[in-house]
């Protein structure tokens, strides 16, 4: 499977390495050049530096089966997801929601097939699965 990982945190590096170890083709997109330097040593992982919105195609988004976007900005994650889905037709787009209050935006409307909320996962783990659901109803449901 071909995976594109977009991120600016240690998480993206770890995910890229892990995917590579499970024998997937991995392309890592790293917005900040300095942060990308230590990654160049991961064999078998291609690294593309630069603004994720501008380098997705160069990173191979057109051929990707899955894209995981986990920058520290929820807005960036949403925009990258949107472009990956609408412009490059990536089959499966997974995005990280950093803040609980932003989670409601992580839907198909922004090209997100699956949202990952670190807070939800942690709360589920601490309190027991299912209890950490902080979802509010969609905006249409409030009226």
């Amino acid at each position: 499977m071909r995976a594109v990982v977009v991120g600016d945190s240690p998480l993206s590096i770890e995910v890229a390495s892990a995917l590579h170890r499970s024998h997937h083709d991995v392309a890592l997109v790293q917005p900040e050049v300095e942060k990308a330097e230590p990654l160049l040593s991961i064999p078998g992982v291609s690294v593309t530096k630069g603004d994720p919105l501008l380098v997705l195609e160069a990173a191979g988004a057109l051929k990707a089966d899955v894209l995981f976007c986990c920058t520290r900005s929820d807005a960036d994650n949403l925009l990258v997801s949107y472009l990956a889905k609408k412009r490059f037709g990536v089959a499966r787009v997974v995005a990280l929601a950093n803040l609980v209050e932003d989670k409601w935006l992580f839907t198909e409307a922004w090209g997100v097939d699956r949202a990952v909320s670190a807070v939800d996962l942690l709360v589920d783990t601490i309190v027991g699965a299912g209890s950490g659901d902080v979802d509010a109803p969609p905006p249409g449901a409030t009226t």
Binding site: D51, S73, L79, A136
Partner: protein, 217 residues
């Protein structure tokens, strides 16, 4: 008109004051509660603190009733996401976003959002003031990509046809005023001695038009 402004910086404050003076009902949202102090007194009470990506904050700002949303934060991606949400989730009829990086214009286009590039507009205007002062535009379009320039026809071009001055995709004669009477010329219209000519010109082709003007004066 009910207007929600996202971003209470210099532009947000100025816009809020102006719209308020025009009689609009304004709400201003900023993630930093300290920015409220920058708002004029008459707008006290119209400030909402919080992230514009939060649904609760958008609801508190009255986005459901908004007829227009203007997004002016310093983050291009936040602006695009908030503008897209205002339009697609809340169906706000008028949405305008600011963008900084010209290279990100395509993302706004992809989302179908009207964006205003303050950087691009400033660069175009300054370049024009530095290099083409003689060609003071009567009107600029979009973010200054094209301009309307009016100028008196130089003597040496008397007797030329309009089509000889047009450069496809760059310079276009759109109007001629002769003896106080304005016409839309045909390509074959012959220009006279005292004509005033209006050109629509692409900003990057101003120097080309300017090369005419250098010889004109």
């Amino acid at each position: 008109m009910n207007v929600v402004i996202i971003g209470c910086g210099r532009t947000g404050r100025e816009l809020a004051s102006m719209l308020h003076a025009e009689g609009d009902t304004v709400r201003v949202v900023d993630v930093d509660p300290l920015t409220e102090s920058g708002l004029p007194h008459k707008l006290a009470g119209s400030f909402v603190a919080g992230s514009a990506l939060s649904r609760e904050v958008l609801d508190r700002a009255g986005i459901e009733q908004a007829e227009a949303v203007v997004v002016l934060t310093s983050d291009d991606c936040v602006n695009a996401v908030v503008a897209g949400t205002a339009r697609n989730v809340y169906r706000v009829p008028r949405v305008v976003a600011r963008r900084f990086l010209p290279s990100r214009g395509f993302a706004y286009k992809e989302l179908g959002i009207t964006s205003v590039s303050s950087v691009q507009a400033t660069v175009n205007r300054v370049t024009q003031l530095l290099h083409h002062e003689a060609l003071e535009p009567s009107l600029t379009f979009g973010n200054g990509e094209t301009l309307l320039v009016r100028t008196r026809l130089p003597a040496y071009l008397t007797g030329r046809a309009v089509s000889e001055l047009n450069v496809p995709g760059e310079i276009q004669v759109v109007e001629v005023t002769r003896h106080g009477h304005s016409i839309v010329p045909e390509p074959t219209t012959v220009l006279g001695e005292r004509d005033t000519v209006s050109f629509v010109v692409v900003a990057s082709s101003l120097s080309r038009l300017h090369s005419f003007v250098g010889r004109w004066s």
